[in-house]
């Protein structure tokens, strides 16, 4: 159970905007780690810096001890980092099937692709019913399932999910969180970004609290849930 992912003192920018101001965190193999924080805190930027969509100007990102700070996104993905972005990023004019195929772009064995697709359909039978439909015609919940399913086609070593519950009906949120838990039990390491801090901390092993580009608190998820500041700011408990 070593550190699968480790960030040390990461600074990221958008032009002149200093979005991450020295983030340090790690994710152990087999863990669910949750990143919570209010809007604009830098949660998405942290995931983007890991997956190489933006690059840290300072600091280091290590995957399995390997420096991937400046590795391009498509290479990071092929090293087993799945990133389901905020807003889902479904290809609106590819069919469900083609979207899933794209998730397995770096996989070359057709048998393996087929196996994984079966697995995805087992998790989300709804997707199987919609297989020939364009991604853009799915409902919000179905799109989220597709986004997660597409992330799984890679069979990633670590799956990063950016606000998977956003905009979903409560029933669907439960389905998504159950799925995340199940995936983790089957061995996938998870880095979960959520505004729904209560749910996130309920399934996570550990958590980090982000505020304006810095980590202000980290602890076991259970302890964070009881933390007074967290309760007040993120759980809405006075």
């Amino acid at each position: 159970m070593g550190k699968l992912l480790e960030l040390t003192n990461v600074h990221s920018y958008y032009g002149h905007i200093h979005a991450l101001k020295g983030i340090s965190l790690y994710v152990n193999e087999g863990e669910i780690v949750s990143l919570i924080g209010s809007n604009g805190a830098g949660k998405s930027s942290t995931l983007r810096t890991i997956s190489g969509m933006i690059h840290a100007r300072e600091g280091k990102v290590l995957l399995d001890q390997k420096d991937i700070t400046h590795t391009e996104a498509h290479m990071v993905v092929s090293m087993g980092v799945g990133h389901v972005p905020e807003g889902r990023g479904i290809f609106p004019k590819l069919t469900v099937q083609e979207n899933l195929d794209m998730g397995a772009f770096t996989v070359n064995d057709p048998k393996l692709i087929k196996e994984r697709m079966e697995l995805v359909f087992e998790l989300f039978p709804r997707l199987k019913e919609r297989i020939t439909q364009f991604g853009g015609t799915l409902s919000g919940g179905e799109q989220q399932m597709l986004a997660i399913g597409r992330g799984l086609m890679l069979n990633p070593r670590i799956l990063m999910l950016d606000e998977p519950s956003m905009g979903l009906a409560p029933v669907l949120v439960d389905v998504i969180f159950d799925t995340i838990k199940r995936l983790n039990e089957q061995g996938t390491t998870i880095l979960l970004v959520e505004q729904n801090a209560l749910m996130a901390l309920s399934i996570a092993h550990r958590g980090y609290v982000l505020q304006t580009g810095s980590i202000v608190l980290t602890d076991d998820a259970a302890k964070l849930k009881k933390n007074e500041m967290v309760q007040k700011t993120y759980l809405g408990i006075d």
């Binding site: 498509h74 290809f91 609106p92 590819l94 083609e98 794209m102 772009f105």
Partner: protein
């Protein structure tokens, strides 16, 4: 039915060929009917001959000529539309990529002529070699141009790469002129005479007065163009690379999160578009027989117009737009003077074609078919 439509033979041969035939026949029919209708309306004004009869007499030939040049426009237009679909950028140097393909193809044939091989080689092998070389050179040139002149400007305001493309256009024209004048001392390249390409297949159709005459080179041109179009359809809709091209066109950041090398896919897009342009250049050279470094301008402009007419970014639209533009050009070249009793001659054909374009765009700003490359063709 579902089983049938997912059958590869249907998806990659029957459907695209059927679509091409449907477009060609449909566009020809519509324009022919309109012209005949106009002839009926104007018939009373002209007394020294029967307008309808005169229109019908040459109609089949006018359609054949229009479709022939139309296929060349379609093939060039696909290069504009593919790049636009992926980058939302109009590659104005595409007309020079086309020109280079034509000149390279002609130079190869001239080389065979020079060594004496031309008269002993199979004529179709010669053409095939010229087309392949034209495709390779134009394709690699397009990739190189993208790397040098467009890639560094990605993320700059939209006008900037556009200006860069226009600059590249001038640069390529003058570079070719320089190379030609250094190596051959001339600015023109001339297609050597060989084979039976200029001969006509004559087909007498009962009921039609003038027999249909198909020049062999025109048949060849249409055949090769259709082959290219079918090949492109397979590439875009049937292969992993094609799916990746569509994914990049729809959402670049997401595509990179799939492990798709976006820069590589953009290069592939330029490679395919450039290769199509190069092939079109060689086909055009067969028709034009004489090329100079500036020969790309008009066909390029027309193909660009065709792409806009069909809906820029839409592959099927480029095909349809090219055919319509070719037909419009042929119809106006042949009939303008007949209809106006000589007041407007064939030299007004482009004005007419572009006037139609403006009309279509006023009524349908997104072009006839709208949509994007991301869409299945």
């Amino acid at each position: 039915m579902k089983q049938f439509t997912s059958n590869p033979f249907y998806k990659f041969i029957l459907f695209p060929v059927g679509q091409i035939v449907a477009f060609a026949v449909g566009a020809s029919l519509v324009l022919s009917l309109l012209t005949v209708l106009l002839a009926y309306i104007f018939r009373a004004n002209i007394t020294d001959f029967d307008l309808v009869e005169r229109v019908l007499l040459i109609l089949p030939q006018v359609v054949i000529n229009g479709l022939t040049i139309g296929f060349v426009y379609s093939t060039i237009a696909l290069g504009y539309t593919m790049v636009y679909g992926v980058l939302e950028f109009i590659n104005f140097s595409h007309s020079e990529i086309f020109m280079v393909g034509g000149i390279v193809g002609v130079e190869l044939m001239a080389y065979f002529d020079h060594t004496g091989a031309l008269q002993t080689m199979n004529q179709y092998v010669v053409i095939a070699l010229a087309i392949i070389l034209g495709m390779i050179i134009s394709g690699s040139l397009a990739v190189t141009v993208e790397r040098i002149a467009y890639k560094p400007l990605r993320g700059a305001p939209r006008l900037v790469p556009l200006i860069s493309a226009i600059g590249m256009s001038f640069f390529l024209q003058d570079a070719v002129r320089l190379i030609l004048s250094l190596t051959t001392g001339e600015f023109n390249v001339i297609l050597p005479q060989f084979g039976t390409f200029d001969k006509f297949l004559v087909l007498a159709v009962p009921g039609i007065e003038a027999p249909l005459r198909f020049q062999i080179k025109n048949l060849l041109l249409v055949g090769v163009a259709v082959l290219m179009l079918v090949g492109l359809n397979y590439l875009v809709n049937g292969t992993k690379i094609g799916k990746a091209i569509r994914a990049v066109a729809q959402d670049r950041p997401s595509a990179s999160l799939m492990g798709i090398n976006v820069n590589m896919i953009i290069s592939v897009t330029f490679l395919i578009g450039g290769a199509l342009g190069g092939a079109a250049g060689v086909l055009f050279a067969l028709k034009a027989t004489k090329l100079d470094p500036f020969v790309g301008f008009f066909p390029g402009l027309k193909a660009f117009t065709a792409a806009v007419l069909g809906g820029i970014g839409n592959l099927t639209g480029a095909l349809l737009g090219g055919l319509i533009l070719g037909l419009l050009e042929s119809f106006s070249a042949s009939y303008l003077s007949t209809f106006t009793s000589g007041a407007f001659g064939a030299e007004y054909k482009d004005i007419f074609a572009f006037a139609i374009l403006i009309l279509v765009l006023i009524l349908r700003p997104s072009g006839l078919l709208g949509q994007t490359v991301g869409q299945k063709a």
